[in-house]
């Protein structure tokens, strides 16, 4: 099915803002099957479940016990429930070489179409993901039966600017972030009462507007150990305007409707994506990557060889300013 983007193209989205049971794969699978059926009965064309919705979040050593390969019969069975619709589910994926990934799968028309492996694993503050999981290495926007390209991301992936930008440049028209975001900071000055929610809302509106792309955010609720997940799932239009916001902390299957034709209108009115300059980004990125890795040669050139690097004396002064005085042998 191709959506004709110049006329009304309504898509009903179901956001499964649920509280998965920690480590209880069978119970969570059953819940996914039930909610998928409920969402389809309500006419949803896309059903989105949260990060690690099939397993719960604070798994620690349980990670290896709930991991599934992407051809696991339980994933295949869940995909089998998606005839005529699309679903995004979160699980622990085990690769052929037994690495464990936090993964988001796009299931459509009875098949597993795509798996995104979480790229950025927060391991600071209250997070400890890198200890238990491997980080993904690929980012792709993929075509979908919805008639638009979908870009998947998992939670922390959105705290890195390149992710929404790369997905949009790769053709994504729908950015979907699935999360297990722990709520914190209840300072009275927060706009929405929770610091985490304020930050996320700012980011998602910004990404939607700068990439002129729909942003769908599905965040879980419930409690694990010390942390409470705050929900607040959202759908943002390519203009940056919120189209739907689920309540904070409430569990539920929430329905939101969007008109995919908004994409065309917004992108013609505000051609930011047309004006992106990935070749410029690439050139600068190559230089920055070289320099950060310590590979840059003295001959590295920018803009035709002038101003490539500061003169040696100034460079030394700069490095002193950054690193403090140090012995230079050359």
């Amino acid at each position: 099915m191709r959506v004709r983007l110049h006329s009304m193209a309504m898509l009903r989205i179901a956001l499964a803002q649920i509280a998965p049971r920690l480590g209880d794969l069978e119970a969570n699978l059953e819940r996914h099957h039930g909610l998928l059926a409920e969402a389809r009965a309500a006419g949803a064309g896309l059903v989105v479940f949260p990060e690690l919705g099939l397993t719960g979040y604070l798994l620690q050593d349980l990670a290896g016990e709930v991991a599934m390969r992407r051809d696991d019969p339980r994933i295949v069975a869940l995909a089998g429930e998606t005839a005529g619709c699309s679903a995004i589910v979160g699980f622990v994926e085990e690769s052929d070489d037994h690495r464990l990934f936090i993964a988001a799968a796009l299931l459509e028309d009875g098949e597993l179409r795509h798996v995104h492996r979480k790229l950025f694993l927060p391991t600071y503050g209250l997070f400890d993901e890198r200890r238990f999981f491997a980080a993904g290495t690929e980012l792709r926007a993929v075509p979908s039966r919805l008639g638009v390209n979908v870009g998947l991301a998992v939670c922390e992936d959105f705290w890195h600017l390149a992710v929404p930008q790369l997905l949009a440049l790769d053709g994504a028209q729908l950015l979907v972030n699935i999360s297990s975001s722990p709520g914190r900071d209840v300072a009275a000055i927060n706009v929405v009462g929770l610091g985490t929610a304020s930050s996320w809302r700012t980011m998602m509106r910004t990404y939607a507007q700068l990439t002129t792309t729909f942003v769908i955010f599905c965040n879980r609720v419930g409690v694990e150990e010390s942390i409470t997940f705050w929900g607040g799932s959202e759908v943002i239009a390519p203009s940056g305007e919120p189209r739907f916001a689920a309540p904070l902390h409430d569990e539920g299957l929430f329905l939101a409707e969007i008109d995919l034709a908004e994409l065309r209108r917004e992108r013609i009115a505000l051609p930011l994506l047309r004006d992106e300059r990935p070749e410029l980004v690439l050139r600068q990125m190559e230089r920055i990557v070289q320099q950060r890795a310590g590979f840059a040669s003295d001959e590295a050139t920018v803009d035709g060889g002038r101003g490539a690097r500061p003169p040696v004396a100034r460079r030394a002064a700069l490095s002193r300013a950054v690193d403090g005085p140090r012995k230079v042998s050359r």
Binding site: R21, L22, G23, D24, L58, L59, Q60, D61, L62, G183, V186, A187, A188, I189, N190, G193, L194, V221, G222, V223, E224, E225, T228, L248, H249
Partner: protein, 312 residues
């Protein structure tokens, strides 16, 4: 330092401090929702429907009683009043007022015979102490700690009778400075207000409708007549809360704190209190010998499939 340590000569505590640093002010609706979810989640995951709390009549345990009642309903909450012979009679009447307003179940256990019985009949003579402490050493500190641990023993005993989990009443201020008796008042199944400073506890208590009398009176461990926290610790809560917030939550160095206007000796002293009490906030270490050791490289969430007392 413990809650029962001998008070240093501090300034008179005087009237309670209604003031609160602006940066510590919280959205009480959101905090209440998070704590409610937390209490329900902890009980459900453990396979319990009921809870019990040691209610002293002070602001911390009163607030916890209100939050627990709010989260699970008063019929599932047992408040246990455990006075000692030196306890202020007003503490008990304040606790009874909380019980009356909430409409929850309550139990009264006078711990005097247990505490005094130990020191009068069971405790080894003082000259067995390597330090050769005089009998006088069974003063505030030992007796206060013993009272706190006796209350813990009563709560855990009644938790079996009631079929509920013990809800902790420690706040963030006392947890950070170590103004707590290890395995005594800090022993609990979970701690709903352990991330709220004392002044935030006051803000929450006001928002949730804890009786004004309880909010207004000077906070006290009530281990001996006239004891107040602020006199014993030597700081006013409004002051120490703000200092801890910038020191711990906002990661400011001692130099930065002094530049912000905090007195250098206060910064140093509070920093020491936090460091010295680190052991009270952690699970005791296990000597690593085998291939896999609990808490070291055997890491599971407290609650997982099969861990609930009763399966749902």
């Amino acid at each position: 330092m413990t809650r029962a340590s001998r008070g240093r000569a501090g300034r008179a505590a005087g009237a309670p401090t209604p003031e609160m640093a602006e940066e510590l002010r919280i959205d009480t609706d959101v905090a209440r929702r998070i704590i409610g979810e937390f209490i329900r989640g902890q009980l459900r995951q453990a396979g319990f429907e009921r809870a019990l709390v040691g209610l002293s009549g002070g602001i911390d345990s009163s607030l916890v009683a209100y939050l627990a009642s709010d989260a699970i309903g008063p019929e599932r909450l047992l408040c246990v009043l455990m006075p000692y012979r030196t306890s202020d009679p007003a503490s008990r009447s304040d606790g009874e007022e909380v019980v009356r307003r909430l409409g929850c179940r309550s139990a009264l256990v006078d711990i005097t015979p247990m505490v005094d019985g130990y020191y009068e009949h069971a405790a080894p003579p003082a000259d067995t102490s390597p330090a050769g402490e005089a009998l006088e050493a069974v003063g505030h500190t030992r007796r206060g700690n013993f009272a706190a641990r006796t209350r813990m023993a009563v709560l855990y005993d009644l938790s079996v009778v009631w079929g509920g989990l013990v809800v902790g009443t420690s706040n963030k201020t006392e947890t950070l400075i170590g103004y707590t008796t290890i395995f005594g008042d800090n022993a609990a199944a979970f701690q709903p207000i352990g991330d709220l400073y004392k002044t935030q506890v006051r803000q929450m208590a006001t928002a949730i409708g804890v009786p004004e009398r309880i909010i207004a009176k000077a906070p006290s461990a009530d281990l001996w007549p006239g004891q107040t926290d602020e006199e014993e610790v030597g700081f006013r809560y409004a002051e120490i809360d703000r200092l801890l917030y910038w020191m711990v939550d906002k990661r400011r160095s001692d130099e930065e704190l002094v530049a912000m206007g905090f007195a250098a000796d206060t910064v140093a002293r509070v920093g020491r209190m936090v460091a010295v009490s680190e052991f009270k906030r952690q699970v005791p270490p296990i000597a690593k010998i085998g291939p896999r050791t609990a808490g070291v490289d055997y890491l599971y969430p407290r609650r997982r499939p099969g861990s609930a007392r009763r399966q749902e």
